[in-house]
């Protein structure tokens, strides 16, 4: 009996340690993605969408429309890689500009960038994984062929 109690509690303890290590690793990964993502944002996006994500008047949409970004989460990677030239409604304002394609970003950089964007400017969507980026881009290619 005593033995079982000891071994069960040992098991529980190790499980707890593993679990917390996992959680920790996740949050470390998130932090890393987020801060690297900011660097990518500064280089490739800030010129247009501005440091505060507010865009430029009726010309460049802000990245503060949390509903739009949530509803279009699957499309975000493709907007960046293939550009966007559409009529879109952000915060009830129509934008019909043109965002140039940014073909030179690796999936990992896209994941970091999107982690930054979808968790800044009022957004709170959690981590954007490399796998998710690659799946989204593949789906986009399939749908458009």
């Amino acid at each position: 009996m005593r033995k079982t109690i000891v071994s069960v509690s040992f098991l529980l303890l190790t499980a707890a340690i593993f679990f917390s290590a996992c959680v920790n690793e996740d949050s470390i990964k998130y932090q890393r993605y987020y801060s690297d993502g900011l660097d990518v944002y500064k280089i490739h996006c800030q010129n247009c969408h501005m440091d505060d994500g507010k865009g430029l008047a009726g010309l460049i949409p802000p990245l503060t429309d949390t509903t739009f970004l949530k509803l279009n989460r699957k499309m975000l990677a493709s907007y960046i890689v293939y550009g966007l030239e559409d009529t879109i409604k952000i915060h009830c304002i129509e934008y019909e500009g043109k965002m140039p394609a940014e073909k030179h970003l690796a999936s990992i950089d896209l994941a970091k960038l999107l982690t930054y964007v979808t968790n800044s400017f009022g957004n709170k969507q959690g981590i954007f994984d490399v796998k998710e980026v690659e799946k989204n881009l593949n789906d986009y290619i399939k749908a458009n062929n």
């Binding site: 010129n47 009726g58 010309l59 460049i60």
Partner: protein
């Protein structure tokens, strides 16, 4: 008693001094030439300052903007193009804040010259102005032939920086805002992508305006 009156005296003289000190004046940029001329039979030396050469361009509403239409205003000039992915959106955003400050003031104008006349036709410029929230002619987006705009940039607005030939993208795409007075002299040059410099320009514009309204 004595000490305190001395104290009050010195404080008040400080105040008087502060009041009498010349108001800050902006420098006049660009080349200058001394010329001799005769006034009342005496020879005096006068200085001729460099000015912006005459021009005539069409704005987003197809109105002609030339030297004459600007004679009663100070203005800010810059060079841009509507499809520019790099520095132009930030410049427009920064200039927009200054425009908002002086909106409706007939003494202050803004001229943005496109350097891509092929793409930036009048309707394209009109749409750009609309989307930016700019109405009327106070801020004009100007269309001219590539050559004339380039020459105006080189011989007019950017010539104050002759020694600096290495501006990336060339004179006409340097990202600068040039502040010009009513006599078409350049009174300031500011990096249009830098918030702090643009804030300085906004202050300098008040200083320049006060030259025309002496107390």
């Amino acid at each position: 008693m004595k000490i305190s009156s001395i104290f009050i005296l010195s404080i008040s003289s400080l105040f008087i001094l502060a009041c009498n000190s010349e108001p800050r004046k902006l420098p006049i940029l660009g080349s200058r030439e001394p010329v001799e001329k005769t006034v009342d039979g005496k020879t005096v030396v006068d200085t001729i300052y460099q000015t912006i050469p005459a021009f005539s361009f069409m704005n987003q509403d197809s109105a002609i903007i030339n030297n004459d239409s600007l004679k009663n205003s100070i203005y800010v000039a810059d060079f841009f193009f509507t499809s520019c992915p790099s520095i132009c959106p930030i410049m427009s955003k920064n200039l927009l804040t200054v425009y908002e400050k002086y909106k409706g003031n007939p003494e202050v104008r803004f001229l943005s010259h496109t350097i891509d006349p092929k793409y930036d036709t009048i309707p394209v410029l009109k749409k750009y102005a609309d989307k930016l929230g700019v109405k009327g002619t106070q801020w004009s987006f100007l269309l001219g032939s590539k050559d004339s705009v380039y020459l105006l940039a080189k011989n007019g607005y950017m010539s104050y920086s002759k020694e600096n030939d290495s501006i990336p993208g060339g004179y006409e795409h340097s990202g600068y805002f040039l502040l010009v007075d009513k006599d078409k002299r350049i009174r300031g040059a500011y990096d249009g992508t830098d918030k702090d410099q643009v804030a300085q320009m906004s202050k300098d514009m008040d200083v320049l305006l006060s030259e025309y309204h002496p107390k």
